[in-house]
């Protein structure tokens, strides 16, 4: 045997991607090192911990919260969270009577600088199709049962405008500082499919 095949041959998809990258590099259209930096940025550096810091600041600093609700892009930029897919931001405040839910029915628009890249379910047909039509049932699917008198507002993101939900601060957190509060805030709560739970 001239060839020892210890593993399955690469899938068509893997070949397609390898072919594309090798050609783009040869043509000088992309720099492989720059690709690695992009991947590292969005895999390890930018993510929902950013958004959690924004939320915790809004919970503890009324002046910041006012800025955040009136001009979210600028208030978020105070943390240095700027850039692609977050140029124009709106923050939606949840209250005892109003629950906000965000979706992108057309594709996957999502506030990258504060939440990172969206999870698969956010980009999937079931969520995109039903979030706008039966949000209460969708929330129930995520384990969130809202009282009937809570109004649900659904916000469909666009390439130009993206949303971040400001969840309600949970009870029993009066003594917690900003950092401890941020640790409680989840990605799902900032998309609007969950509430923030109090400290365990």
């Amino acid at each position: 045997m001239s060839k020892h095949r210890h593993t399955e041959p690469p899938s068509e998809l893997v070949l397609r991607v390898k072919a594309l990258e090798s050609l783009l590099v040869e043509k000088g259209l992309v720099d492989p090192a720059a690709l690695d930096v992009l991947i590292d940025t969005y895999e390890n550096k930018v993510g929902p911990r950013n958004g959690a810091r924004v939320v915790a600041r809004a919970w503890t600093d009324p002046a910041y919260k006012a800025r955040l609700l009136s001009d979210a892009s600028d208030a978020i930029a105070e943390f240095g969270f700027t850039g692609r897919q977050g140029e124009d931001m709106v923050v939606l405040e949840n209250t005892a009577k109003v629950h906000n839910l965000t979706v992108c029915t057309l594709c996957s628009c999502y506030p990258w600088p504060v939440l990172g890249l969206p999870p698969v379910w956010y980009k999937s047909a079931p969520y995109r199709s039903r979030a706008v039509r039966d949000p209460r049932a969708v929330l129930r699917e995520f384990g969130l049962e809202l009282p009937e008198d809570v109004e649900i507002r659904v916000w469909d993101s666009t390439a130009e405008l993206r949303y971040l939900v400001l969840p309600e601060r949970p009870a029993g957190t009066e003594q917690l500082g900003e950092e401890a509060l941020a640790a409680l805030v989840t990605r799902d709560a900032m998309i609007g499919v969950a509430k923030v739970a109090g400290p365990a």
Partner: protein, 103 residues
């Protein structure tokens, strides 16, 4: 342009599949497709609307049966071909060469 990507309100897509502790990427090829797409966006031969339009032109049945980054890959190949930066025939030839190498 309406199309299959315009999913708001559509019935029949089943339950939401939630993955606990989901990783940002599920395979190395997804990382490469993501990064190539963003890098080529910076290159400036097209804008975000063109790249969305390129993905939205995925044939309907294929769109619904493809994963997210497969749709991105198809969109990127389409834009590269249409812009003349990388004709599809060249990509196909390279795929064939790599396949032959892999035996």
């Amino acid at each position: 342009m309406n199309g299959v990507h315009d999913l708001g309100g559509m019935d029949g897509h089943g339950p939401i599949a939630y993955e606990v502790d989901e990783p940002v990427f599920h395979a190395e090829w997804e990382r490469r497709v993501f990064a190539m797409t963003i890098a080529m966006g910076f290159y400036g031969a097209w804008n975000i609307d063109s790249s969305r339009h390129a993905r939205e032109r995925t044939p309907a049945a294929e769109y619904l049966s493809s994963s997210y980054y497969e749709i991105w890959l198809g969109g990127l190949e389409r834009l590269l071909d249409e812009s003349g930066l990388l004709p599809r025939a060249e990509t196909e030839a390279r795929i064939a060469a790599l396949r032959a190498q892999a035996g």
